[in-house]
Subunit: 430 residues, 2 copies
């Protein structure tokens, strides 16, 4: 019998996250203050979880995962399976390529975001906070943090980019089912939000604006703390649980990837999946091709590598990253989680050194969703719109004659059950 | 570290389904012909999968699961975890009751229905058919059969009760994503459907009407075959994969349930979960209290135990079952999968002999969803509206002082990601 699903026993759940900082060829360019205005670093110190900020700057290679967080990971269904896409290989008529995918879609909120949400919520509770604030774009991060807050017993306030808030009523209901308070952003609830909302009550909003609102809210309430779902070093580090499990699974299979592919917005999914393998490349001379799948509406890896703000209101320190400019407006897409102006400093650094390739797909998303549909037909699982980008790229790579004999791994970062409207519109299903 | 998730290794997936027929105290009352009209048995012989009909009447205790179906089960993510609801126990302040739940919600289409869909699709393909026809009420069965058809390479036609078809656009899109053709029932596509549709183009439809349409469609096309998602013996037998896995998991834990609870519409979820344990009760003198959670709009287990048709058009043979009458109209509910006039003959027989208790919850579903919400808060998973009935009952039983020290097991038969509108309306989330 052919078995294509490889699970890890619960006690094989990794006990440490991997921090790539000490394995980089040189220290990562640190965040810095802009030339004018108040200190952004001091501001972050007052609005974010201290343990997360400590991890952000850590140079320890391995950070122990507290047992309580490991229990929460198990509660959320970890470890997750790695699957050989035998049926997809057959459908594509491939005889020599071996395709593997990791199933983050089995997450209770529908995406990999729970991996850092649970960690951040746990540390926030430890530090005595009573409420978490955050922003969300596609809604996956907001749902994950609402979930994390519910599981550790905290309140949660989500500022949600209005253009997405309006059409994702189901996901909004799910956040509220988990007990969260949800505002369309720009909202009437913060000074910065109000400055935009009063001029235009239908303002579409952006991730950058919503970040500014979440930060301001946390600053004004000493019992509240702000959590960020992507971009930062500690977020990617929490997400390495994905790549670390994948590595163990490949070891048990006696396989090793030649190509690793996933979608990239701010970088937490892509980073979490590849960083433990990038470590091998940097320290053991392994050769892997890493490819980030993006949208032409937000091809941040094709932007400039320079210092920029992470938010529109310029509340954050400057981060050295690939950026389209923090005030750039980007057209909404169905894979809205990919719509962010900048890429995580760690991944930006690796990109700059030539370790990461990128592709940007057209904004109408036809090519992406039509290619992804082959995966649904063969494997039977419905990926999230964002995950579809990585899957489409994996299928395209698998079909290239030069990749015969290669092992291609991709991450299904989330499920698409709550995104049928988007698929329907683009593919004309109804 | 506390581990509350118990997985089985892939090679522990059961190799046989359990058929309870030979373990019943007396032979199950067989289906029979009504007094007038054409032979319904002969009709079924021409419209259904032969291997399924053979299994329907089998008296073998164990039916081997073909390796190809086991591979499909693994592809669909089986075996599925059994979890100890430690967090829920704590939230409820219970110190002595031990709560366990099985996670059928991890199914790729969102419910346990894939367990028989894959088997039926496989056998249909083996017998040379090219298209499957069926009905669906809540939409879970239609999605599962569309999925099964896609995985074995068949076409699929679904007749969907119009009152649900209209508001579940997302699930309709998902069926189409899997390549199925979907009609609102009564439709213009069959003679029986047309007879109702022409009088009222907005006819709400019913499961009984949709069954009649699926059967007529299959009869008119020799390449098509009809599949039923519940009620019949072979369907419940395919679903015993749930209870068989659960039993292995309890064995490994050194536990055994005192009370088993799940929701019941036609009976496939309830039967699949409990029958392997009912076998223990019948043959080994074990004592378990089995409780079916239903809706007051369709409390079929409180109906009459007599011969009745399974469909409105009287196309099927008469089945000896608890029934509300096959022409009874039932008010739509959010847990629409529970809205059926009759209960599976096997479970009806067991109910008649006193082995199965039942509760019916009010049709406004407030009590059910509000109680279920405690499960979401504690365990973090969103159950289907139907599954919520069993969860609510499990929580109510767990709170009873007389159940201190007992082990209560329930099945989360599906997830609720595609049912947020229903939860939202009833709970006032938005």
């Amino acid at each position: 019998m052919e078995v294509n699903q490889f699970s890890l026993p619960v006690d094989a759940l990794p006990k440490k996250w991997y921090n790539i900082a000490p394995d980089l060829p040189e220290p990562l360019p640190p965040p810095k203050e802009p030339g004018s205005g108040p200190s952004r670093m001091e501001f972050l110190g007052r609005t974010m979880v201290h343990e997360c900020l400590r991890q952000e700057a850590s140079t320890d290679r391995w950070i122990p995962i507290p047992e309580e967080i490991r229990e929460l990971y198990i509660q959320a269904g970890r470890p997750r399976p790695l699957c050989r896409a035998k049926r997809l290989e057959k459908l594509l008529g491939l005889k020599k390529v071996r395709l593997y995918y990791k199933r983050e879609d089995l997450s209770p909120t529908g995406s990999h975001k729970v991996n850092t949400a649970l960690a951040q919520a746990y540390y926030a509770k430890q530090e005595g906070y009573e409420r978490l604030t955050t922003e969300t774009g596609a809604g996956q991060w907001g749902t994950a943090l609402a979930y994390g807050a519910a599981l550790v017993g905290l309140k949660c306030t989500v500022y949600w980019v209005r253009s997405v808030y309006n059409w994702k009523a189901d996901r909004r209901a799910l956040m509220k089912m988990f007990g969260a308070e949800v505002f369309a952003s720009p909202s009437n609830n913060t000074e910065f939000g109000r400055s935009l909302y009063e001029k235009d009550k239908n303002h579409d909003g952006s991730l950058g604006i919503a970040i500014s609102e979440g930060l301001e809210d946390a600053l004004g309430d000493e019992k509240a703390v702000y959590c960020l779902g992507s971009v930062l070093n500690h977020v990617l580090m929490h997400q390495t649980i994905i790549g670390l499990e994948t590595k163990k699974q490949f070891e048990l299979l006696g396989e090793y990837p030649d190509i690793m592919i996933s979608c990239l917005g701010g970088g937490s999914n892509f980073g979490g999946f590849i960083l433990p393998f990038v470590g091998d490349v940097l320290t053991q001379g392994k050769k892997i091709k890493f490819i980030a799948a993006q949208s032409e509406v937000a091809p941040n890896l094709q932007g400039e590598y320079r210092y920029d703000f992470a938010d529109v209101a310029e509340t954050t320190p400057l981060l050295k990253m690939y950026t389209l400019g923090h005030k750039t407006e980007m057209k909404p897409i169905r894979g809205d989680g990919l719509r962010y102006h900048g890429c995580s400093p760690i991944l930006s650094y690796l990109r700059n050194k030539g370790y990461i390739d990128t592709i940007a797909y057209p904004g109408d998303e036809k090519r992406v969703f039509e290619t992804m549909r082959l995966f649904v037909e063969a494997e039977g699982f419905l990926p999230a719109p964002e995950s579809s980008y990585g899957i489409a790229k994996a299928i395209e790579e698998a079909r290239k004659p030069e990749n015969a004999g290669k092992v291609i791994a991709f991450n299904v970062s989330g499920h698409g059950f709550m995104d049928m409207v988007g698929f329907s519109d683009v593919l004309g299903l109804l």
